[in-house]
């Protein structure tokens, strides 16, 4: 076998497509031809004059000049790798990268450790128990009040503020100005219009009250005199009964009836006077309604 013929058979030899006889011929040629031997070892991967470190360095140089390395891609899949959620092929890829990358291996180890320890933080004991404080704060605490209750509570708090009265007075003053315009003129006008009605009512109430005062005083005097003990003693029971009846009629029954009828009369007059005054007020032109 010549060297040229050997080179034509090289691919078939490497792919295992030769017969046993062809192998023996090629082997015999390689035993005697150093050049073909070197070529065959190189293309078949048997020529190894580099150690593992040199191979690793060569691989890194190649990766640096091409994809930049697989660390970024490995980081993206590292969480699923640690969780065992990667497909078998991706798992093999990441595992293969970790074999050659100490940084990613350390990161994966830290990730696995953190993942294992994190669930222990789900229930932490506080330094000082909070159960007692929570029970104190919540015992018999009512359920969250409704909106109207909260509004009422807010209004009560607002009313307790020192400035609340000032704020209310301010708001009412503004409203008054809006409603009445110039309040001074409006009040003067109103008091002038009301004056006749007020006078009628005052007269209707005042005169009867004066009469009641006068007649009441007289009645009281008569009752006092009747209750004063008589100088002459009563000689017989009949005389006593007659005297008692007479006293009752004169000093109790008659005055009370009279007073009651007078009071009814006065009440009627007062009501009439108030009606007339209100009618007089309402019938005057330009009267503003009271709000």
């Amino acid at each position: 076998m010549t060297c040229e013929f050997f080179e034509t058979r090289l691919d078939a030899l490497l792919d295992g497509r030769c017969t046993a006889e062809q192998w023996r011929e090629a082997d015999a040629h390689l035993a005697g031809c150093a050049r073909c031997r070197r070529v065959f070892d190189a293309v078949s991967g048997r020529a190894d004059d580099m150690d593992a470190g040199a191979h690793e360095s060569l691989s890194r140089q190649i990766l640096a000049k091409t994809s930049g390395g697989g660390c970024e891609a490995a980081r993206e899949r590292l969480c699923d790798f640690v969780d065992g959620a990667l497909a078998p092929f991706d798992r093999e890829l990441v595992g293969g990268h970790l074999v050659h990358c100490p940084a990613c291996t350390a990161l994966a180890a830290a990730l696995a450790e953190a993942t294992a320890l994190l669930p222990s933080f789900a229930a932490l004991p506080p330094r000082v128990g909070i159960v007692r404080d929570v029970m104190t704060a919540t015992s018999r605490r009512p359920i969250r009040p409704s909106f109207s209750d909260r509004l009422s509570a807010w209004a009560a708090r607002a009313a307790r503020r020192p400035r609340f009265s000032l704020e209310v007075a301010y708001v009412l003053t503004v409203l008054l100005l809006v409603v009445l315009g110039n309040p001074v003129d409006a009040f003067k006008e109103a008091s002038v219009r009301v004056q006749p009605g007020v006078s009628v009512v005052a007269d209707a109430v005042g005169r009867p009250l004066a009469r009641v005062r006068t007649s009441g005083g007289e009645t009281l005097s008569r009752v006092e005199r009747a209750l004063r003990p008589k100088a002459e003693p009563v000689s017989s029971l009949a005389e006593g009964k007659a005297l008692l009846g007479q006293w009752w009629q004169t000093y109790v029954d008659a005055p009370v009836r009279s007073t009651l009828s007078q009071l009814a009369d006065w009440a009627g007059r007062i009501v009439d006077a108030v009606r007339k005054a209100m009618a007089a007020w309402a019938s005057e032109p330009g009267t503003r309604p009271v709000r």
Binding site: A110, L111, A114, A122, V134, M135
Partner: protein
Amino acid sequence: MELSSLLDRCRQGDDLAWEAFVRQFERRVYSIASGYASSPDEARDLAQDIFIRLYETRGRWVDADVFTPWLIRVARNVCLDQLRRKKARPPAEDIQADEMWDLASPDADPEAELQIAGRQRLVWRALRSLGQLSREMIQLKEIQGLSLQEVAAVLHVPVGTVKSRSNRARLELAEKVLALSGEP
């Protein structure tokens, strides 16, 4: 104790059931509050506020099968409301000795317990040093164990966004753990 029965009793105003509820959920609520607080005392106050809010609204509690995600959502809202009012400080880069959080360990072996406590404290410190968003994501998904859909419902974001944010937060946490432990 069956959760559905406990919730029913609490809704009806049973104070004993309420106490049992508080004891049952105290640690969990405190843990949630600690995710938003900057100190154990603030976490304690937040936890109390959360329970008070729960008590006031006990007539409107959801059913037992969806109670835990709902509880976490309520707790989160209370914490955010309180923090907005108090204008919370950003998370501390380191924790002072007098503000150490108590991290209980379930392991009975003292030597193992020391190791676990050491690594657990390291992870806790790394967690506290994260930003608010990353810390909240880890709190909801990894610590409280909510699903992607539940976290998405709490935060009102798509599920895909939750997935990517969660992965990013976890990687950030792992890097912090490495940095704190002195490894490259």
